[in-house]
Symmetry: C2
Amino acid sequence: MVTPIDPTATAFLLAENRSMPMHVGGLQLFEKPEGAGRNYVREMYEQMRDVEEIAPLFLKHPHRSARTAGQLVWKEDEQFDIEHHVRHSALPKPGRIRELLELCGRLHSTRLAWERPLWEAHVIEGLRDGRVAMYTKTHHALVDGVSAMRLLQSVLTTDPDKRGMGAPWAARSPRRRKPAPEISLSDVSATALRAALGITAEAAGLPGALVKTLTKGLRNETSAVSLYAPRTMFNQRITGSRRFAAQDWPIERLRAIGKATDTTLNDVVLAMCSGAVRRYLEELDALPDAPLVAMVPVGLNAKKSGLASAEGGNAVGAVMCQLATDRSDPASRLTAIHHSMKDGKEALSSMTPVQIVAMSAIGQTPAILGPLLRMQGIVRPPYNLIISNVPGPRTTHYWNGARLVGTYPLSIPINGMGLNITCTSYDGRLAFGLTGCRRTVPRLQRFIAHLDGEIDALEKAAGVA
Amino acid sequence: MVTPIDPTATAFLLAENRSMPMHVGGLQLFEKPEGAGRNYVREMYEQMRDVEEIAPLFLKHPHRSARTAGQLVWKEDEQFDIEHHVRHSALPKPGRIRELLELCGRLHSTRLAWERPLWEAHVIEGLRDGRVAMYTKTHHALVDGVSAMRLLQSVLTTDPDKRGMGAPWAARSPRRRKPAPEISLSDVSATALRAALGITAEAAGLPGALVKTLTKGLRNETSAVSLYAPRTMFNQRITGSRRFAAQDWPIERLRAIGKATDTTLNDVVLAMCSGAVRRYLEELDALPDAPLVAMVPVGLNAKKSGLASAEGGNAVGAVMCQLATDRSDPASRLTAIHHSMKDGKEALSSMTPVQIVAMSAIGQTPAILGPLLRMQGIVRPPYNLIISNVPGPRTTHYWNGARLVGTYPLSIPINGMGLNITCTSYDGRLAFGLTGCRRTVPRLQRFIAHLDGEIDALEKAAGVA
């Protein structure tokens, strides 16, 4: 079965190269249920592996041949090999979080092969506290970070006693699969083709609108869509190897800061990141005088943009947030960030759907934005790093009795943007996942200490400590 | 410091692609010394990691820029990051050899990044019998399989009480490293350049000589350089993912068979492989009527060929061996293989140095041979698989008191040649390492049982059981 690939997914596939794999990841920590046997992790792995039928999303891989007229299409993997995708791994002693993050960094550094469906999952044993970890890796052409998290959550339950739950890649209603012969593009359903071509036509109009939006930003430096960002060590050519750091904090601490300062939870997240970035760059004697700019993806109403995929996947816009890293006072930074985000969201809501889509293209395809900007004579980086915040479930979830105690996102550093910070909330905690180029962003673990110092400083400044 | 890359190494670098990584590997098993503490493996890893100075071979990476006039050169990695190269890994429970082979297959499936020196080493814990494993991976542009094994052995000793031994990648006489500024190709020592260009000139003459040799083989079907090989399942397009199977047998058993039948040890190795291939293909209902042909690299005198590198690296010729897989009788297969190898080696010794080098080009660059043969209208595969036998040390060796109990080679499947068998001897045992494309060579572990059945059958046939 051959189906067309939409232009956004195609862009992610084509932007990929050896030093810039385009997959998102997730690290989940589970507590074994009471009475778990000695072989619990192996059994969990086997349950994940031995699924009756794989969902179509996890069976398709990119394919290009003379029969598809040279176009990239999705094709079902007829020799699907579950053991290639679902793997059992272990940590060396002493089995601390440090060893887990090191393994996740390594696993996140290797590319997914186009010759197979674009995902991997590792059930990981060997944590000294007895918890079980799962690292999953999915190509951005299949899902974005938000959809990937929703997919993982979709097989969880709030009921600790429920059993018989499947793997995220299992088809929900098992049925016998039909043989899937290769067909040429001319056999593809006309509707599917029209839909794909319709999107292509609209996408073709993007660059002009995008440049218009960007130029507007350039003309008004004080606007939240300003593209004046200083050069920093994050904005260099990257290598293919990754480091990963992660930690979570009680969401109540962040909320209390927001309440006391009349700012949003997201403002506080950005202020923590801003302070940590400032401390990190100061330590390396690399803090620029001008404040750093973060690209902050914000959710868009899919119907409003008139373009988002039916899966609700890639419908995001972006606000450029001045991080006020030139200010030493945490309270003053938080205020500045609050105003920058407010302006940015107002600017976004006054845009036409096409302009929103143009902005959203920044978020979707930063990798292909560079050449476009250079063509327009814009040579300075439009922003220094990407900070996103993806809300997750608020209550405790379980998988076959195993309690999910933490979930941490891994994202995509790109050339010129060596650090990505993605946050997610779950069960009363806010988790920060930092994915960086191993070479250009050294000592990434220091960020965790800096984030911790920053939440303390913000509490003190807000008078809630 | 920039140095030229010789043409063979360049060919290996350029032939590489995502489904055909060009690195060789080695798996070594160690027994911990008596009195080894609880943290023995971590300490072993730290000893491997914390070397004072890295040898130049392990510091250089391929580099190409305007300053090198677009040529690939070796360049020292000025941001060398030992923790990227030396890694600590673990096996999930139950920690059998099966889990170890699975991990080695995975590690062997990922490409080495050109932006860093082309090697990796993993110290692996978690074997249930308490042994420690080490998997190493080195690009074929740096060393061939033989040199890689010698390098690993060079840090071992026959003295179980000796301590203070370094890692294979440590420089032997620590000295302060000089700063290494990037230089343009014009700064490269004229002698080094002439040497490289001299080799290039000679190499440029290869295709003609090679084709002449091949054509000669085609004209004489019964010759040992015959290129009539049937199509088999091994001779398809491969994927980038690998399977690895390995086992060793007492070398005395193989010698006894050879002695009783007046054949060589290598003949017996080939007969075991031949019988196992026959059983494997029969089980899959894929045994062709015509006998399979194996390419068997043989050592050449470096001076005779007048071309081999000073390191003694890539000086090999190749004999095409008819494996007699059409015969069901093990004794008759062994006899046929013996004659085929004898004819082949005689043909090789009567060749001119240029012809030998042309033959050796088959062994060195099978990946680039395909297009060349097609250009000459030769469309059938010249051979079905590669079987090499690399002699290793005969006595027990130790690394800081840890006894080396087994060493198994991992090699390079290529497009059209999905299975590679490499054998090596050590301390009275002959080890077989089978590296196959995960997709096109399924059930690779079955081969081990078949090899075991075959040695039994050969003993029975030779009357030495």
